[in-house]
Symmetry: C2
């Protein structure tokens, strides 16, 4: 408990919840890192696919990047509409559920959940890659570094939303600044025709193509680059976390975020194309660009560390989204109820821990390699994009209202664009791992439905029928099984008779002498409670006791029987193997007797 307090801080009152709201500046840091950080790997993933068709194909990176830029713009406008329409938070699940029904909503939820886990894994892996590009000797420790980073984020998140926000604002802005500087200086240099010193060395290393430049390959590079768009939905999920006026602030923040994302992504793609940079195994594209532009000095290291921090913060944003989505699902009965309860620090501790666990698992399974994880990534997000845009289209068609035709067209364009992107991503990545995501979506949906149908079955079983009456009072026979007369037994008797009713102590006669001794002691200590001595033909105390319980139940099937069990609780856990084996058996045997209720009266030993 002390460790927990130290790690996650003190609990907060409900009244404090309003104060946990985020300013735009902090919110941009918390919510945008997911989207913006993808510039660290999106260009690289595009180049990695195109290079298969040789260096000439690299020119295609510009049109592919422009297509992705188009998606960013469409999504920004579409999502602003969602933010105003769902001020309580308009995640794909909520939008799909309120406009399209349960099944599309569950698909969106499952897809998003998987993508949250992937966001953590991919971002952390890419963040580690930023560091190992600068310090190659750390390359062998990728997985360890990744796991440490996740553990760190989990602890920070268990400490609560606002502290995390503050904690992350400075590094986020530093990283955006550093990357912005790189794009700015690099672009200016490229425009004035400045040729960096290191450029000539890297040119001859470009390999010849192994595939021909087909439409499929270009679409594949587009699909890989779509990783850049992931995270754009984060703000719409968290509108409630903004200060008043929530929707307006969120929408403004959305514009800022998209603007930063678009400039950095296009800038990096342009520079990479301009310098003819290709992806290398041990060094990221951003690292190569930074080295070319600034040399391996202070600025270079600042950019690498900043990129790493930004990616860690991207992972962090999933830690806000995942537990939030889980809690919404839990409230609708699709996830275990306990996921819906607030943790100590106004955050959803259970969700945080589960997300951390699965992200670690993924990181270990894919050995901390960004490129290996990418084929699984982005599909989930695009499925949810498409479903929420489609949901909005249906909403305008039904609800109509102010300027509904204009709004319909905006979300309609969004739905079509993201729908096409989804099909491209799914079809080009399917064999490389995307099938795993589809399988997991199906499994998750089955789980969601299974959980809900269980809760429904429970609700039906415990529901009180209108015409039923409250039960009439019944008899309650209290039995205290004893084997000796000692403080533990006297305590149990003291407890049992404090409530009146018919109380009897029960002794199983396994040894005549012992029984006689107990009877004498009982006369002094029994507090007037009658002692029933039962024969035990089978030498089994349990059997004799159960027989007596049965007998009394048969006499009056309507009565309750309370078994008050004096139990000695040792001071140390290992001493338990020296005690209570019989109590355990008794509990197990009585558990399924409908009218028998067991009460332990523990007697705590001190040594």
């Amino acid at each position: 408990m002390i460790l927990k307090r130290w790690l996650v801080g003190d609990p907060l009152k409900t009244a404090q919840a309003a104060n946990e709201r985020l300013s735009k500046t902090i919110a941009l840091a918390v919510f945008s890192s997911n989207a913006i950080s993808s510039v660290a790997y999106a260009t690289e993933e595009i180049l990695l696919v195109l290079i298969l068709a040789g260096s000439a194909a690299l020119a295609w990176s510009i049109p592919v990047s422009l297509a992705i830029l188009f998606l960013v713009i469409v999504l920004t406008i579409s999502y602003r509409q969602i933010i105003y329409e769902y001020p309580e938070g308009g995640g794909a699940y909520i939008v799909a559920r309120s406009n399209l029904g349960d099944m599309p909503a569950l698909i969106a939820a499952a897809a998003l959940m998987i993508d949250y886990v992937l966001t953590v894994a991919v971002s952390v892996a890419a963040g580690v890659a930023a560091i190992t590009s600068a310090v190659p000797s750390l390359y062998a420790h990728r997985a360890t570094l990744g796991l440490t980073a996740i553990l760190f984020i989990v602890v920070v998140n268990l400490r609560g939303v606002r502290e995390s926000g503050k904690f992350f604002a400075i590094p986020t802005y530093s990283a955006i600044g550093a990357l912005g500087l790189l794009v700015l200086i690099g672009t200016v240099q490229s425009l004035i025709g400045f040729v960096p010193a290191g450029l000539s060395e890297s040119t001859p290393s470009i390999p010849a193509g192994v595939e021909s430049l087909t439409l499929f390959l270009i679409l594949r590079s587009f699909a890989a680059g779509c990783a850049a768009v992931t995270g754009m939905e984060v703000i719409s999920n968290g509108v409630k976390a903004f200060r008043h006026p929530e929707s307006k602030n969120a929408a403004t923040t959305m514009i800022w975020m998209s603007g930063i994302l678009a400039s950095l992504f296009m800038g990096i793609s342009w520079l990479a194309y301009h310098y003819g940079i290709t992806a290398k195994e041990h060094e990221t594209v951003v690292s190569q660009l930074a080295r070319l532009t600034f040399g391996t000095g202070v600025v270079y290291y600042t950019i690498q560390v900043g990129t790493m921090l930004l990616l860690v913060l991207a992972a962090n944003s999933a830690f806000a989204g995942f537990p939030h989505l889980s809690s919404i699902l839990a409230r609708d009965g699709f996830m275990p109820h306990q996921m819906a309860t607030f943790g100590d620090r106004l955050v959803f501790s259970n969700g945080i821990i589960i997300l951390g666990f699965f992200a670690c698992l993924l990181l270990v399974l894919f050995r901390g390699d960004t490129h290996a994880l990418i084929p699984l990534y982005a599909i989930g997000v695009f499925v949810s994009f498409t479903l929420s845009q489609a949901g909005m289209v249906r909403r305008w068609l039904i609800k109509k209202g102010h300027h509904w035709r204009k709004k319909l067209i905006v979300n309609g364009v969004g739905a079509v664009a993201t729908g096409i992107a989804t099909i491209i991503i799914a079809s080009t990545k399917f064999m490389q791992g995307a099938w795993i995501v589809f399988l997991l979506v199906a499994v998750l949906i089955m789980m969601f439905r299974g959980i809900r149908s269980h809760y429904q079955a429970v609700a039906e079983q415990v529901a009180l029928s209108r015409d039923a009456r409250p039960p009439r009072p019944r008899r309650n026979l209290v039995l205290i099984p004893i084997g000796a007369v000692n403080k533990a037994v006297v305590r149990a008797v003291d407890y049992a008779r404090s409530r009146g009713g018919e109380v009897r102590a029960v002794l199983i006669d396994v040894d005549k002498e012992e029984t006689a001794l107990v009877e004498i002691k009982w006369a002094q200590w029994g507090c007037g409670v009658p002692l029933v001595v039962l024969p035990s033909p089978y030498r089994s105390i349990l059997r004799a006791l159960l027989g007596y319980v049965e007998e009394n139940l048969n006499k009056d099937p309507d009565c309750w029987i309370t078994v008050v069990l004096p139990e000695i609780l040792p001071a140390r856990w290992w001493q338990n193997i020296l005690h209570n084996q019989r109590a355990l058996l008794l509990k197990a045997s009585l558990l399924f007797k409908d009218r028998v209720i067991l009460t332990d009266v523990p007697f705590h030993l001190t040594r």
Copy 2:
């Protein structure tokens, strides 16, 4: 439960216990296999040591065997006296405890316990060796065969004493018959000078010596051969299992057992010497003898299978001794109390399972190799021999009585002979593994004493002082924490008010609307029990509830508080993760509040 019944049979009444007594014929099969079976490996172990000094040293196997024969005779006479003096069973622990005190008794008990485990492991390993000698292709599966054999014996023993006895009589006598035939025919052949066909082939394979023939080597071969004597104490432990007159029958059986053991052991040692047989890795000495005498035919296979069965039965005899010793120790408070209780089938199930487990462990650790286990073996038995003989010497000195001087001399000779053997065994085997046994003896003694001192501490803590009075009746406040009004809650209320006293339902107000709804429903279903609504500033139901409990405890520190918890029990175990997380936390928090008693009222779901 059905599986258990099918495996171990129906329970028996106490009255049936007398019928579980064994006739001499059955008892010989049950108790003597341990001692007699050691002829399968004892000679081989002697030869394995002597061969280190070259083939000429093998002649020493005859005097070494004669020394062991002397031990057998001395022990037979000595143990007959113990059998008459301790008709209730005279194991080394009992004899040492009643004559020498606690510490020697615990040494004997620890030594015997370790040797029981070793008996199982060594016998099963040797039994498997008998089979792999005949079918060399099974050699690679030694460990699996051994584990299967132990599992088989465990199940048979859980079925009860008499059935095991019947089950084992036929194979024991077949095995004794087959080995007897081997010794008889072989000896006759050797006396008439018949030379078997296969003999010439094996002669040249005898290696030159690698050590010189020192006194130490001869003593080491004696120590190794002492494995032959193990198991001779088994009958004295089990006198009570014989039919009336118990001691007389047991003493007669003892003579028979020793006679058979002595003839087979000396016969095999003589034949091995006569034919110049040495130990081979993949074939036992007995197997080589049987092949030479009968060729690889039906008789040969009968001897090998018989030997194997006899060794399995030897392992079985430890399954009678170990739980018996454990239960005696448990009754004296040196082992957990539950070891003292009879199992369903009048046998001590717990001990059987523990022995099986450790024997399997040993078999796996030593990879099912008899020779690797032998250095650990026999020490424990000889320590206990010495202690029980010494105990008898002390007994005669104090008790005197009829012919006490003669009896004193018999046990005195026994004590001296076994004492010297113990010293020889311990000193020659110490570095090869015997130190493990000494270490384990020390650990076991610490465990025995730890357990007893714990039980004594418990007894002191629960003991009622003479001058104390029974407690006066107290108040009992019954609280029912509810979150909704449903069948489970109504059931808990029905139960709680069946005993009178002050009953209150407690609702934590986390949601105003929900609370209002519950209050309305309560008016109909509450059976007149008042509903207390508690605010929850920390949104933690647990915290609010604990606070209320504390508050009431502070008002009247002398009263009991009963928390009646309506608990929904799912129909399937995995559904538990969807329920009762809160109940679990509540239980954990209340466990250490001295005056708060928790009662679960389970509501069983059916689907």
